[in-house]
Structure formats: C-alpha cells, structure tokens
C-alpha cells in the first residue's frame, strides 16, 4: 500500500452537489413555468365550455365576433384567426427572402468592416420596442400606403405585414448568420478548390449544410410574427373581417385580446372567451413548432 490518495475536501464535494442541484432546478423550472402558464390560462378559459350559450364550433369557425352585443352575443374567432395567419403570411413573404439574403451577405460576401457595422445596426433594429414599430405603422407607413395605392385607409393587412416583416428580419438575420458561420471553412475551401464560384458555393454547399439552422431562423421569425401584439394592434386597422386583399383592414387574435381584456368583466363569458383565444394561440404556436420539428427531421433523414 502506497501513500493514501489525495482526497477532495468535503466542502468542495458539498458545493459541487449544491451547484448541481441549482442547475437541475433551473432546468426543471422551465417545464414548471410552461405547465403553470397552461394551467392558469385553461383555468380561466374552461368554464365557458359548459356555458349553454357557448358553441365551440362557432368559436372556431364563425366569423361573427359580437362580444358586447345586447341581444345577439357571438364569439366567433374565425376572422381573427385568418387575420393572424394573413398578417403572418405577408410578413413571412417579405421577411424571409430579405432576412436570409442579408444573412448570406453578412456571412459570406461583405468585408469585415461592413459586417461589424451591419451587425450593430441589425441588433439595434431588434431592440426597437414594438410600440414604436406600431407608431411607425400608424403614421409613416400608413401615409405611404395611402399615397402610393390611393386606398382610403392606410392601416391594413399590408401595413401590419410590413411592420411585422421589419420586426422579424433582425431575428432571421442574426440566427441565420450564426447558422452559416457554423458551417466549417473546410467546406468552403473544398468547394472553391473544385472550381465553384462564391454563389455556387453558397447555393450548392452552404445552404444545404446550414439548412437546419436557417429553418430555425425562419421559424423564430415566424414565431415573432405570430405572437406580436402591440405593433399589429396599431398597424392593421383593427376591423374584424376576413380580408379580400392586401389593403383590407384586419384584426389579429393577439390584438383582440390586448384590446378587449381590459373591458371584459372578470369571470364573464367574454373574459373567458378571450382566455380561450389564448389557448387557440397556444395551439397555433404548437402546430408551427411541431411542423418545424418534423420538417427538420425530414431534412435530416434525407
């Protein structure tokens, strides 16, 4: 038997345990908080399902939203859902090409100096509060749309979509650029050595290599668009209707909750239906996330 092996001091072991516990707690707490949010929203929403005047199918598929009518109360959110989806759709169409294009430019084409400047500017763009965006939509964008298209009202689907796109682009750019930066340089070198131009390198090698990260970037951008409230409340015109064109006003699920929850007496059917709208938003987000997850897995399998 040699000399006794050096032992770690007891205090050090105890500290190790405590740190491990704290880290574990912060991990588990995320699950706990999500579960708690679910629970409280459901608790406020669920009683309305047993209300004899409430019809769940009507809630989902009717476009009649008259929550404060004296003799004909209707809680149909279909027009609001379409409002959310259409504004998000317009935002995606505008933001994804610009966002990914900017990410590719910053990561692959521009000089280090421009890169630094652009990154700072884009981070600034991400830091602008949504109410300021809404204000821009309400004043600048609205006037611009009226003068360009000659429509009567400047706060509409196009305006909201545009503002949301401007809000999503920074998210898409910064995450997309990270994804491209994570592609090993050896791929770029190999492609160039094979006689590829920079564009061919981007399209044939970098985009396929970074597709998971780029998809994540797009989805986080979409998430930003679906969940955004204040800016769309101010920029979309707030009319409950199914839009027939880009220049029609719409109202989104989120804006509706924000605008009406303060007016609805706590515990009333109106109040509960607004919480049910929250559940619906949850469901939409969940569908987007699951779809994204499946898409990423599909890409991986291939």
């Amino acid at each position: 038997m040699g000399a006794p092996r050096p032992q770690r001091p007891k205090a050090s072991i105890a500290i190790e345990r405590i740190i491990e516990f704290v880290i574990r707690l912060s991990g588990v707490s995320a699950v706990f908080f999500v579960a708690a949010i679910f629970f409280f929203i459901f608790r406020e929403a669920v009683p309305v399902l047993w209300d004899p005047d409430f019809d769940f199918a009507e809630f989902l598929f009717s476009k009649e939203w008259y929550p404060t009518s004296v003799n004909n109360v209707r809680y149909g959110t279909f027009a609001l859902t379409i409002g959310t989806l259409s504004v998000t759709g317009v935002a995606i169409v505008l933001a994804v090409p610009f966002g990914l294009g900017a990410a590719i430019f910053i990561s692959e084409f521009c000089s280090p100096k421009i890169k630094e400047t652009l990154k700072i500017v884009i981070e600034l763009l991400a830091a602008i509060p949504s109410v300021v965006w809404g204000f821009i939509g309400l004043t600048v964008m609205s006037k611009l749309i009226v003068s360009v298209t000659g429509t009567a009202v400047g706060v509409n689907l196009l305006n909201g979509g545009f503002i949301l796109a401007l809000m999503s682009v920074p998210v898409i750019v910064s995450i997309g650029e990270d994804a491209l930066k994570a592609v090993p340089d050896s791929y770029r070198e190999a492609a160039l050595a094979l006689g590829a131009t920079r564009w061919e390198t981007v399209f044939r090698v970098l985009l396929p290599a970074a597709k998971n990260g780029l998809l994540a970037a797009v989805l986080l951008g979409v998430g930003r668009a679906v969940g955004e409230t204040m800016a769309v409340l101010m920029a979309t015109g707030h009319a409950v209707q199914i839009p027939h064109g880009l220049l029609d006003s719409v109202r989104t699920l989120t804006a509706n909750v924000a605008a009406e929850l303060g007016e609805a007496p706590a515990g009333s059917s109106h109040y509960r239906v607004l919480f049910l709208t929250g559940v619906l938003l949850f469901a939409i987000t969940l569908v987007v996330n699951v779809a994204a997850d499946l898409a990423v897995r599909g890409i991986r399998r291939k």
């Binding site: 070198e189 190999a190 006689g195 590829a196």
Partner: protein, 254 residues
Amino acid sequence: MTASRLAIEVSDLRVAYGTKEVLHGISFDVKENEIFAIIGPAQSGKTSLLRCLNRTIDQVAEASVTGTVKIDGLDVRRVKDVFALRRKVGMVAPLPVGLPLTIFDNVAFAPRCAGMKARGELEAIVERCLRQAALWDEVKDRLGSLGTALSGGQQQRLTIARALSHDPEILCLDEFSIAIDPVTTMRIEDVLKELQSRVTIILVTNLVQQARRLADRTMFLWNGDIVEVGSTDVVFSDNPADRRTYGYVNGIFG
C-alpha cells in the same frame, strides 16, 4: 532520359501571411506525368505552396504572394478564369471533407459547376471517378446517401474521386493518408500509380516512406526553403546532396 514537358514551373515564389514569410523564394519544376513528392516537417510551407497552385491562397485575406507559378506555361496569376484553373488542378485536402451532399452530388459537383447538366453524362463521370478512386464497389448501391455519412477512409477516397471529376491535369494530394488506415492508404497508393499515366501528381506527405514508394522525384522543404530536390533514388540514398536530407528521411533530424 526523355525530355518530358514541364507541367509546373515555380520560380522565386514567396508567400507571406502578414509580416511572416513562410516561403522564401523557392524555384522548382514538375514534369508532366511524374509523381512529385514534397516532404518536410510541419510549418515548412507545403500547404501554402499547394494553395498557390490553384490560387485558393486568394481567399486568405492577409496573404501576399510574389514570384511566378506557371502551369502549362501560363502564369496562374494572369489567368482570367480562376475557376477553370481550379478545375485543371485537383486538390485533395488533409482531412477528408465530404460535402454535406449525396455521394453522387459530391462527385458531380465540379462538372455541374462547369455547366454540365445531362444526367447520363454525369452518371458516367461519377461511376468512372468512383472506380478510379477504388470506392465504386462500396458505394454503388447507395449513391443517394450522404457523403458525410461515409467512414473516414471512404470519405478520403470520395474526395479523390471528386478531385478527378473535373478531369484535372494536375492532382495535388495534401497528406491524404493522415486520417486513414494503412490498408486504405495502400489501395489509394495503387490508384495513384495507375493515374500517373494520365495526370501529374503532387504528393505532399509526412510519411517519408510513402514518398519513397511512389515518387519519381522528391523535394525536401524545410522552413520555407528547398533543402534538396532530386530523383527519389538519390534523395533516399545514403548520399543525398544535403546531409540534412539524410537526417530527415532517416528520422535522426530534429
């Protein structure tokens, strides 16, 4: 001795990264259809030299290059279509880099960049190159699976197939055996000997015995200078021109 044409002429080539010069004005020639080995310890400038041949050194922002490199008598720095130049010089990197594409797309990459679209032609090239790289039999049933999913040795042969796909006149291999086992190394060495009739091969290697087995001529590069360049028989003999060469190839040199 037959007077063969020169595939590569390098004269007074200097490469510096910032203020640090890594090649101090070297000059040598490579003959057509020979296997030309470059040996030397790490940091002797071997990879920088290869990068000058296909001008991928252009991508290194702080690199400065003087002197001339001629391929087929043409100064590479005067070449207008650098992409065509790079297709003329096949390059195999030290660590196998399967691009994140299918095996087929990996090999068809360069022909496609050169503008080839016909499926039949591409298929023929893919099969020929994979056969030449001794990989065809192992992957012929799964050309659609990812190149990055192959084993290290297979990926290295895939990069060789890829380097052959654009019909290069010169094939540069930069320590190709660094990540693969001796059996696969031997198979690739056999492949190189077969290819010699069609292409000029530049073999950068840390394995001096590999140079001895394969090369017609060997160049010993040390700290950015040529110590000796000559017929492999002489370089590896007991009486090379420079005593340092004897020390290095026999492993008694620091």
